[in-house]
Amino acid sequence: MKAVLPVVGLVAIIGLWWLATIVFGIDSFLVPSPADVVASFVELPGYLLEQTLVTLWEAVFGFVVSIVVGVPIALLIVGSTIMERMFYPLLVALNAVPKVAIAPIVVVWFGFGISSKVLLVVLVCVFPIVISTASGMKSTPDELTELFRSLDASRGQEFFKLRLRHALPQIFVGLKVSISLAVIGAVISEFVGARAGLGYVINTSGASADTSLAFAAMTLLAIISVGLFYGLSYVEKKVLPYA
């Protein structure tokens, strides 16, 4: 039942889009109708699914690396004021640099293969994960840290049994922001230099003026993003039943 309203919304928007292309007689070269988009997909289903998997893999791989890198960075920042003072401003500065500007350099360094894609995804994703983890750990209620103090708990126990666990709901907020950014990061990187992936498909279809193919690729991107986001929400509900 919960799925009904989103489907109604989706169908309504697609209907309006279709209606607009017919009523205003828009050239399919400018805005293809939903039927044109579906036709493009049906022409090359195997190829498009392959490219979808490439982008999906880049995004997920980069996302996982971001967690593996981001959480320890957050631990260091929360654990040591010196570390925080030294590296936090750098991290903010790194995040402020538009990733589109870094992408060409990353491709120069790491080539057209998957490593340049993963690196760019990490650059996009890691910041929200670090911030949400660090702020979640810092927001542990005083009564709980005091309890751990009164039990003479070690710093490691306080970090892993209390602070990190307490931060989980906030970490998930960061992860949900990051997972959508991961797909964007992968596409940007494919735009700049790649031989595969949906970003590469969109880029080349632009060159050959195949707008409906570009739309088909974008639809697949949207499906990936939505799927990843809700997949993560599902994991969150399983892990955090009390939140």
Binding site: P141, E146, S150, K161, R165
Partner: protein, 237 residues
Amino acid sequence: MITVGQLSHSFGAVDALAGIDLEVGEYEFVAVIGRSGCGKSTLLRLIAGLLAPSEGRVFVAGSEVTKPRRDVSVMFQRPALLPWRSVLANVLLPIEIFGLGDHRDRAHELLALVGLEGFEKRLPHELSGGMQQRVALCRSLIQSPKVMLMDEPFSALDAITRAELSEELQRVQLELPRTVVFVTHSIDEAVLLADRIVVLSPRPGRIHKIVEVGLPRPRALGQPELDDVSRELRGLL
């Protein structure tokens, strides 16, 4: 069991406690009472080793308190349960932190003692405030502490639950006697539970008077014999 000698504490320029001397015997239940801001919580935190005194010393079981210790348990105003852990896992937290062996049977016994059988697998948010504080009491007891420190443990509860829990604490204390220092601003609670009541006067906190409650146990809230002590305390506060 506890010896407090010439204990003073200041927060910056504010003197919270000045020249406190106190002896608490083994299995004695001492209540500390006073208006808010008289330094009663500070006194408790100094005994717990959560604060370092500006002057004076605290001894528990013959050794000086320099930091929080395993033979001293602390119960706070709020239950301070970890929301992601079941009732049982919350009770077992001190055992886990201390790295001790399996205490599950002991935890079940303690939960049964406070009437929480069958709630072992529940999460804290499924429990009422009074039940949560009972879990916190079990968590305190599982340490088998030489000294239990309680910082207004019932003050966040409604009046009915509060009365219920103080009578329950009396029952637990009769079954598993401990040395207890119990900070409260409720005269009724102090008179019901304590062997001696330390009355603090504020700014800076000093011992105004120590009142002996020589009444036999178990006592009951509203028992007429408690009234005389309550009246005396009211006059002192």
